[in-house]
Symmetry: D2
């Protein structure tokens, strides 16, 4: 196999983003796209050279030319489609989270394992060159044994309340990225979480049953401790920082900015705000993510962000929510699903 032929399930914002990025990956051919409504997508699909457009994702699973599918449909459909795709012997790229329920996720991963297909979960930040460098430095021992992890992750503006109502809540929808980042850079499982949360950005978020500001402390299996802070609204832009502190030093990844320009006037010295949001900040990460998916499929290798990675992040998110509600720390069992 020289090329991976793909089907895309779900052509919303993230689905179309993946399509655009996949067009620049030489190892890939996009054959088909499915969505619940496709009429408005005809021109778009044609301009991308996509020959099949269907409302039934099972058409993609039934197509023997298709090697792998991207699951970009709503979270509630992920677990079911993963199982069907695996049974159809398709490799799978699935957006995060795999599901809102550990049981569903585990069941889906079992089928993936049984069928021997690859599953990559869409934690795009792992492919950001800044965070990847922090991880590499930690792995190479440059900071010594890790002692403290710090992650700051703040969105530039909150999503709509409608979105929040079906999002699974801040821990499952937003901080789940940071839980995965924590496991990724520390290369160790999270064994306990303790969550603080508040509604400080918008009371409507509180009325919707969610929080908009949170600090979660973590204990890792390797003995280290860590902390993540989240806000739904940093007015100065997307604030995405990671720091690992250890016995031999510290590695920090700071925000990325559109330019390096500084302006000095009588008012002060001003530099650019961070890149606005995930589309700007993680442009390169999104491209790298799908490129690596294609490469590992072609090479017959294991995905760089597996179903188990998805499961563990969900478990931490669920434990964080429990901790927040209970007002005390919650321990996490971290048994893994074998094959993934």
């Amino acid at each position: 196999m020289n090329t991976v032929t793909l089907g895309i399930i779900g052509a919303g914002r993230i689905g179309r983003l993946h399509v655009d990025n996949l067009l620049s990956v030489p190892q890939v051919k996009i054959k088909a796209v499915s969505d619940v409504v496709v009429d408005h997508l005809q021109e778009w699909a044609a301009s991308k050279g996509i020959s099949v457009l269907t409302t039934n994702y099972q058409d993609l699973l039934a197509d023997p030319e298709i090697d792998a599918v991207f699951i970009c449909s709503p979270t509630s459909t992920h677990a079911q489609i993963i199982q069907e795709a695996a049974r159809a012997k398709k490799h799978i790229f699935c957006e995060k989270p795999v599901s809102f329920s550990a049981e569903q996720t585990i069941e889906a991963l079992r089928v993936v394992e049984e069928e021997g297909v690859q599953l990559q979960v869409g934690f795009n930040r792992r492919f950001d060159p800044n965070f990847k460098k922090v991880r590499d430095l930690v792995q190479q021992g440059e900071v010594g044994q890790p002692h403290i992890l710090k992650i700051t992750s703040r969105d530039p503006q909150p999503p709509s309340v409608d979105y929040i109502l079906t999002s699974g809540g801040l821990f499952m929808d937003m901080m789940i990225h940071d839980f995965d980042m924590a496991r990724y850079v520390m290369n160790s499982e999270v064994v306990e979480v303790s969550a603080q949360g508040a509604v400080l950005v918008d009371p409507a978020i509180g009325e919707a049953g969610d929080i908009d500001t949170a600090i979660v402390t973590l204990k890792f299996a390797n003995g280290a401790i860590g902390v993540i802070d989240n806000s739904r609204q940093a007015v100065y832009g997307y604030d995405q920082r990671v720091e690992v502190f250890g016995a031999k030093g510290a590695a920090t990844a700071d925000n990325c900015r559109p330019t390096t320009v500084e302006v000095s006037t009588v008012e002060g010295v001003v530099k650019d705000k961070p890149l606005y949001f995930f589309l700007e900040r993680y442009t390169q990460a999104y491209i790298e993510e799908v490129t690596q998916f294609a490469k590992t499929i072609l090479a017959g290798e294991k995905a760089l962000c597996t179903g188990n990675d998805g499961l563990q992040a969900e478990r931490i998110a669920k434990a964080a929510k429990e901790s927040f509600l209970a007002g005390c720390p919650v321990k996490i069992e971290h048994e893994t699903v074998t094959a993934q």
Copy 2:
């Protein structure tokens, strides 16, 4: 009164540091120094123009020329000496902490209140221009309503185990500075703490019954949340950073470095490590601290860091230790001692 005549009780490292700084304060005259042993101090005292050297601090309290005393003796003696000094109508500068016991501290503050003298507690970091600017920006509303506070505070190397044994432990000895900083920059009381701690730097610290690495989350009366991380050993130097994030933005104070020099070679681009430790980092803060003490005494004004500030920081430290031992959050009552 144009000049404050001072007596210094305790001529250890911090006492002698204050003497050196006070010599550059024009509003001050140092008349006397007491310590448990003084023979080795004769030449030093003479070179500083100090005329009285005694082993009995009560000689200083009995001297009608002395307006104020600096209490730089061991913590265990603070509460007692504060009371005696207040009864003798001396204004008081006392090193932190006031005591290891809220009851003792409260009793001492009651006497201070009754006698109507001023008491300034030695939280030197309040006088650092970086942190003061963060506080001022917050007070002026530049970051809007505060949502998240982050303090990083890491020493370059751990103290001796002997020191640790009598230190009161990491929360009372080290993080107490950060608890005070939290109250100072947020201008709000801490109402709940949740502590994580570990022994990662040196097992001997654990054997001495203490920890060397900690993360503590805070809830403030104003609704904000915060987090402090401490380590007894940052091999790259004294890591002292503060960040306040709010509705309108964020203010961050970064580390100070000896020079601005950057060296670019084939190996990378290297800048200076942070200033090594508190003597280097807080040089200016220590001078400003004693200058402000003298100025407020002369002006008959309230101290800029009061006995109540000392008490509240101690309460938070105590609660943090309880939280660490209990493995769950601890709430803090924050009644204040009136006059202070």
Copy 3:
């Protein structure tokens, strides 16, 4: 016209780079490529969807479907091909410099003017977002009337002596980019130059009759003064900085780095070196450059970097060389060629 159909003349490193970038520009179709030898290019052209491959660039000029050509052949051929392409009514993108002789360049621009086609010269750095922002700030008056311009431009390693022998020398080959940048950010003509040069990197460069290190001061028509420094070898990477200082402040564009990661250890605090060389540093600028070419052609607008811009930069480079050889400042007439 919805799409610009292109022919590429010259498929060396820069020609192939433009092809790759043009493939991501939706307004563009690449029909044909010519080079003096094409056998080794068959597979490459096929993979890019290029249908015509020829050793005769005049085939491209004779093709009525081709709207515009990219001239990426050796500098010595530029002026001649520009004229032929203009006579054939093709719009033109030409790599810098247009020629090594003002007379040849002027003659080429005259034909371009007569035929009414567009000519864009390949000063890619104008399309770098950092430098563009500096220019925009200057244009918007953010730094007030410009007083001082400073440009630092240092390559990571010198080219081969073979290259240097036919390069036209440091001023025409390397600093010409900075002369164009000077005119671009200052929006004013250079009226006098004074050059200092030295052979400090490699004696072989001196033996080839060139220099490898230079500082050139500039006087602008608007009264401002400026300075450019060049080195053929900055061992820490491609050093590309611009600063405009004026009555109301300064705007500076610093180097770009692969990541924002800083590593703090006992040795110091290390950040990334600048991006290695022009392919890494100006990735975005190269894409933007050809995108803007396509857009201005489609819109019937004037190129953003015209033949006159090419001519003026060449004149400054020539004057700088004269100044270096004569050891004194040289004035520059800046009559423009009208249509461009």
Copy 4:
């Protein structure tokens, strides 16, 4: 000799600054101050513990207790007083420049040499820890053989036109510091200068016969080249930067700022402007300068910034002015006055 007893000649701004700094130097005693008018200085001198106040500086030279004098009187008097002080066997600290005439300076240095006293010239910036580190790095070979020197030196606001009329002009009054810095960090003599100048800040400066903006290129005896830019008005504060680029890398000293605080809002990310002017920027350098003077006198060692250093900087300044007026480069003979 354990202590250097000093007389201060001239109690203007810089004289009084030195007095304040000298009071913190334990190796020093200030006995006497002279100025042309002293009535207004009585209280000031008393507060500083200075016992002798006179209108006749020769009283200081005649006082056998005085070991050394600080010459802080107007430049026009320096050369004469140096000679008288040397004849009186006093060591000398003299503010820069030694004189406006090479002949006068050489004559003064000859007497200093004959009498065997030490003369330190007041180039305070040599004692700035940032620039000293750059020099040390260059000396230690960290950047390899130096190729390019860059100095930026811009004042926050121009002096009065009255001051400018007697200042000796921008090259002698302001850029002379940078000429000394150039020799200091490069450890090599300047053999040629080429000056560009303009009146861009204030036409009144031009009417006074001076310029307010300048760029001067330098050739060094070691083959390196360099450039200095000056402006009399950087509205954002005192801009003081040095960069040495060489075969193995570059060392840069950036501006110093009051705090490390950054404020991120919807408007941008703002940090402090540079420290306002020389009193703020060079506080530490001024103290170190006089401390080192006292130490070298006590140790019988050569001054760290000698009369010859003063002479060479003056020669470069004079050559720069000639170059500016003539519009072409000017070579500099750099014979040294032996003993200094």
